[in-house]
């Protein structure tokens, strides 16, 4: 692969992986969605050149800044489900609130327990991932 100096070339890598993932999802009877297969392909492809990603981080950051916009169309299809939501809003609301609290607490407690050995109380900024 050439150095990914230009934004267009970096974007092309992502789109090519997206296309390959979509194709793979259609051809193979895998339970995984096309874009996620594309993501896994991209990880495999980029893993060895992870210190020479060129313009890819800029492209990925740009896409992720606008991410919420991209699921507006799919989310708008929820209008067809308003009758269901009207009928079942109570169990849905209870399940969403309780499961979110449970998820937060369980993740935090397990993380606290398992990371206590390797980091100090305030966390370990030196081991922090790049923002």
């Amino acid at each position: 692969m050439p150095p990914l100096r230009s934004l267009a070339l970096a974007a092309l890598v992502l789109v090519a992986c997206q296309g390959a993932g979509a194709l793979l999802a259609r051809l193979a009877p895998l339970p995984i969605a096309g874009p996620v297969l594309g993501l896994l392909l991209a990880v495999a492809l980029l893993h060895r050149r992870r210190d020479r990603l060129g313009a890819l981080p800029a492209v990925a950051d740009g896409l992720h800044r606008q991410l919420p916009l991209f699921f507006v169309p799919a989310g708008t299809a929820v209008v067809a489900w308003l009758p269901t939501l009207g009928r079942e809003w109570r169990p849905i609301a209870v399940a969403l609130v309780v499961s979110t609290l449970v998820g937060l607490v369980v993740t935090a407690l397990v993380m606290q327990r398992l990371s206590a050995a390797t980091t100090d109380e305030r966390g370990d900024p030196a081991a922090a991932p790049r923002a």
């Binding site: 991209f70 929820v78 209008v79 969403l96 993740t107 407690l109």
Partner: protein, 238 residues
């Protein structure tokens, strides 16, 4: 083959649908800014309400809007693939904390999915709502694909995940304070795992380390969930 007139009409639909989508989202962003940036005013929920209302009032078939907004939906796939970039950039961090990260994300993700599915079933919701609950704490673009594969509804999954994100971001900080969990890494992983992108945004406001770990956790949780959830559901319903 499409006739000239049909092609023109479809180009017109595309321009109109995409413009309306971006405009509705921009209004949502402006409202959130006006409200001081609180996660309670979510730009996507505002945009969904505006567009849904507009389709209803103008008697436009939602399928026609969906076809017109196809280009924006394609970018959703590209943005999903782009989660590969933070993952490969942070390989060292992932390897260093692999045991804690993977165990915490799997435990938290499983606990939240099981609680949600168990509660909706116990409280008498329909099967399709139960299935849609499975990926509720995963980032919306990946959750919609999972929902489709486990017999749920992608659009409902978007609503459930956004609501989860808003809840986690609004009350998560206070909850973790009460439990005296103060390490930015712990808080970040919890917010990213349980409340994906919206939780990660709240984590970034708290501390840059918390934000970075939240981003990492939401990407890992998304990949793990996309691989594991459909397989488990397929095995259980066989």
């Amino acid at each position: 083959m499409m006739g000239d007139r049909a092609l023109l009409a479809s180009v017109g639909d595309t321009i109109l649908a995409c413009t309306a989508t971006v405009a509705a989202y921009a209004i949502g962003r402006a409202l959130q800014r006006a409200a001081g940036g609180t996660p309670l005013v979510n730009p996507v929920l505002v945009a969904m309400a505006l567009l849904g209302g507009a389709l209803h009032v103008a008697h436009i078939d939602p399928a026609r809007y969906a076809a017109g907004s196809r280009p924006i939906q394609l970018l959703l796939g590209t943005a999903t693939v782009a989660f590969a970039v933070p993952l490969v950039r942070q390989t060292t961090t992932i390897v260093r904390h692999r045991r804690a990260l993977l165990t915490a994300i799997l435990a938290g993700g499983t606990a939240s999915a099981l609680t949600a599915v168990g509660l909706v079933h116990a409280l008498g919701a329909s099967d399709v709502v139960g299935r849609t609950m499975i990926p509720k704490s995963i980032t919306a673009p990946i959750a919609m694909g999972i929902a489709e594969r486990v017999g749920g509804v992608p659009a409902l999954a978007a609503l459930f995940t956004i609501t989860t994100g808003v809840l986690g971001a609004s009350i998560g900080g206070a909850l973790l304070d009460r439990l005296r969990l103060r390490a930015p890494m712990v808080r970040g992983v919890a917010l990213g795992t349980a409340a994906h992108g919206i939780g990660a945004a709240a984590a970034f406001v708290e501390h840059p380390v918390a934000g970075a770990f939240a981003g990492l956790a939401l990407a890992l949780h998304g990949v793990l969930g996309a691989v594991v959830m459909p397989v488990i559901v397929r095995l259980m319903t066989r």
